[in-house]
Symmetry: C2
Amino acid sequence: MCARDLLVENKSHMCRVILEPSGMSLEVPRGTTILEAASGAGFRIRAECGGKGLCGKCIVKVHPPEGASPPEIAESEFITQKELEAGIRLACQCRIEGFLSVEVPPESQETEEALGKIALRGRYRVDPTVKRLFLAGSGASLGDERQPSDLVEKLLERLEELGILPEPRLELGALRELSMSPSLQGDLTVICHKDRGITGIREGIKQPSLGVALDIGTTTLAAYLCDLTSGEILASAGVANPQRRFGQDVISRIGFASQGRGSLLELHREVIQGLNGLIHKCLARARAAAQQVDEVVAVGNTCMVELFSGLNPRALGAAPYLPVTRSFPDLRASELGLEISPGANVHILPVISGFVGADTVSAILADGLHNRHEITLLVDIGTNGEIVLGGRCGLWATSCATGPALEGAHISCGMRAIRGAIHRVWEHGGRLHWETLGGPEARPRGLCGSGIIDAIATLRSMGVILPSGRLKEEAPGVILDEKGIGRAFPLVGKQDTATAKDIQITLGDIRQIQLAKAALCVGIMFLMRRAGVERVDRLVLTGAFGARFDWRSAVAIGMIPQEAISGEVETMENAAGLGAVMALLDQGQRREAASLARSVKVLELAQEPDFGVEYPMAMGFPAARWEESPDLTPERDILVP
Amino acid sequence: MCARDLLVENKSHMCRVILEPSGMSLEVPRGTTILEAASGAGFRIRAECGGKGLCGKCIVKVHPPEGASPPEIAESEFITQKELEAGIRLACQCRIEGFLSVEVPPESQETEEALGKIALRGRYRVDPTVKRLFLAGSGASLGDERQPSDLVEKLLERLEELGILPEPRLELGALRELSMSPSLQGDLTVICHKDRGITGIREGIKQPSLGVALDIGTTTLAAYLCDLTSGEILASAGVANPQRRFGQDVISRIGFASQGRGSLLELHREVIQGLNGLIHKCLARARAAAQQVDEVVAVGNTCMVELFSGLNPRALGAAPYLPVTRSFPDLRASELGLEISPGANVHILPVISGFVGADTVSAILADGLHNRHEITLLVDIGTNGEIVLGGRCGLWATSCATGPALEGAHISCGMRAIRGAIHRVWEHGGRLHWETLGGPEARPRGLCGSGIIDAIATLRSMGVILPSGRLKEEAPGVILDEKGIGRAFPLVGKQDTATAKDIQITLGDIRQIQLAKAALCVGIMFLMRRAGVERVDRLVLTGAFGARFDWRSAVAIGMIPQEAISGEVETMENAAGLGAVMALLDQGQRREAASLARSVKVLELAQEPDFGVEYPMAMGFPAARWEESPDLTPERDILVP
């Protein structure tokens, strides 16, 4: 005991922290923030602002008070004095000063599994770049009369006997594996890559050749494990992109990466670790081994694929917003730290420009609009919005900064589309109704993007929200501020929520949605104008958010212009992920991707002369049916962000 | 103090060891051998048997006796009871049981620097595979009208403007470097490899392109830093191969590597670490940076280059003794862990067979015998002996197990050719004379290989050694054993040595040399016979040992047959290292190497039917001039090992 006391005294700059509900116990230096302590231990607390005290999402409860630093000014923005006294704090601001127990409520935890993005199933066309050749132990003597010789020659002789003579080049990894089985008498599997030659040699039983398609989203990572022979998707998994703790959007990640080699490496490692976790999860689900994975295809926006490859994305942060490269060389899994066969080939689909990435190329492949005669408008809305317009005659693309609001971030009661999120809102008989993800027994915790769009469209149709975006003061339910101006509209009272707090739509939330929807709407209109298209035959909605919202609500709030719904409207679950699967299975798709990356024409919205005028104009809401005509003039000044 | 006492008590299984003369202090688990403790701390104690208690070279003095385990039986083979009581122990057998001070005498220390092997100087023909292109900051605007574009295209445009358009492929490492300088406004250096494309991009001032030639010997590693533009050797360094602690010869390393992936990795890491140390030393001497090294060429025997590349050499340990591959793919420095530019190209010269390695190919390149009309006999003697015979008309090669005796190992007073080694012995006026390496003020510590050959030849010519290899009992100076048989001949009395012990030639030493010289002699004779050569126009002696001994002594003891000295005799300092330098500087040499590896015919001595008969026959010594004729018959039985 004496020794322990002394140790405590000696190490008095270290403090013990217990994270609840997991009960995880940590020892950290005095002065560490709770967010840093948790993150260092792999426990994720939401920090959409990157830990700057700006988003208020990292609320925790601490005990005892003397174990924590005094409240910061930033905390009083989100937490009342009374709550602060009760130990409610922001994990990013509160520093650990002594022994501390920290309770992290579910709404402050980063949920590991993302719903929806991984719902791909099926079988696709197969023509892989990698093939496994199985050599059953022949027992044939390898004693050789000819001199000199080597193991590689012996192996190639055996392949020749079988009538298979692939590219006779062996990579170092394959040589290393070959050197482990010098007799060549047992069963052998030889992994041959079309361009790279023999990339692996395995002893032992015959196992199917597998591949992994990776969809690297700013917000969500997804992995699909596929059988490279049958073309079947065997398993899939999704997770929040762990890079989120360095900032919610692409711009903040570029900023962080530009701080130096260390930050860049950290972002690179985070995404690789996240993907490794997904790959292991998929393998466990399919009861397969990491050594079976012979190929990987990765897609993502330009910034995400650059960070995935360890490139510094800082050129994307300033005009002319250039990617480092549009087509990536094929890599080995070991070069990136992916925990599969070290020699497995990693192919990254090409990007089109700094803001139209490999995910867009992949979504085009998935839909096949480039091979259709009709004019298709493909709208992929995740953390960013990417728009592709055209058909066989040619394609135009642009991207617009819809921002993370559509995924529930920067929204007061926003959350991602996971269990407990309100995803549908409608009016019936003069009353608001809602539905949560996870079934009726999932009590609501907040609103995901599609719920917010629905809520705003519904409140707009009920006249609670005015064309300018203001809340109508005299409408029933609207909460007023001290000046008598509408501040918020409660959707669900605290008695019905899982958090015991009202779920409400605030004026600030409506502004966030206005910014996002205007960007998308103007993007579509400019792209149609530039492409000379007046009528769209097919509107395809996809993306983490795009596939899930009610497009009628989106049209009602002016997020999608009327011109875009002149033909069919389809939704497609995660086109980017599907395209990655298709390119994994079929080398023909990679050739198409390469040709798309060169041929798609890009419109840079920010460089369009009229953009600065039309963008603020598009922020108002269209007239509801019962309204005479919207009158935006008196309030236009407050619409400019 | 109370806390510290408690810590000591808690950690009572740890013991402190002080290594003298360095004063290095270590804490190791109780029961660790002194050899393991020292080796774990990077302090090298000689252990030619790999720490098995067989070589007796790791003698140390310990204090106090209670800190060390009781003596093992193996120790009494090398240490008298009286010495054991005085604390003299074998470091590989003595386990640490408590606080212990260990004095490591100089003769038990692995000396870091190897003399001789690095003595190459000069300038060679230049046509490198890697070139640096320097782009001075032009200040030209890179604002581009065309869309889309990327940094790679911008770079290639600049190279095109300069009239240089190399292979437009960029490797990942180069892309990563390019992404660090997104403006492309500053000075840039682009590193282009003939086959691999652009492998590196550097910001900043113009620096010469450097290369490193590595000569990976079983006993000694050497590195040569060269200017790839001027062809000059800028610096060189040598060191004992740190793999020596796993065994002195190739066979024991193969055995250790075959124990499992861990052992293989350990051997690989040891040689890479040793080479990294040498490269850093060369760079420091030439005041150059690791980032300037654009290419590496490595040579060594087959086992050494396999371990260097991380291949398991176990196929070399059993018939038909096959190498994994005869030609290696080019690698990146990062794949091996070499601490230079991660993308630097590593080329390994090809091997000819399991026992005729890249060092032999390299020695052929250095001498150029393959382009000569005369018949050359090239004898490269290091830890193994490799023999090449022929000329433009064709080449034959073989290798023979001369063993490490010729480098001073397995010899009672043997040592490597470093300061204090007796390297020349001669007779004048009926008295023996000797000379040490390091000048007259270096007191002798032992005999290196050339000293042993001279000593035996001299004692033979004086009649002290009989044709059979026995010591003549009645000769003055010969020490007899209890049966009155000659046991040893002291060359230098202890009053004149640095170790205060006699330096002597024992019967066992003579047997070791007989085994080695017979192997070489029979190898040369069989090769001449197989090639149908009766007269050698040129004898070229090279290798760590081959270049340094007096060939007349070697002929006198029958190590080199009379037939081999029918023409000129030349010696060449480290032909293998020189060939590596030439192949580093000139890609033409690599093409020649590839062609040699395919065309040189190999003779496997062990498979020759008469070898088993002729080898023991060759162990006797030729008649000295004054002798009538050697009479080997009565003693032949004791010559067979």
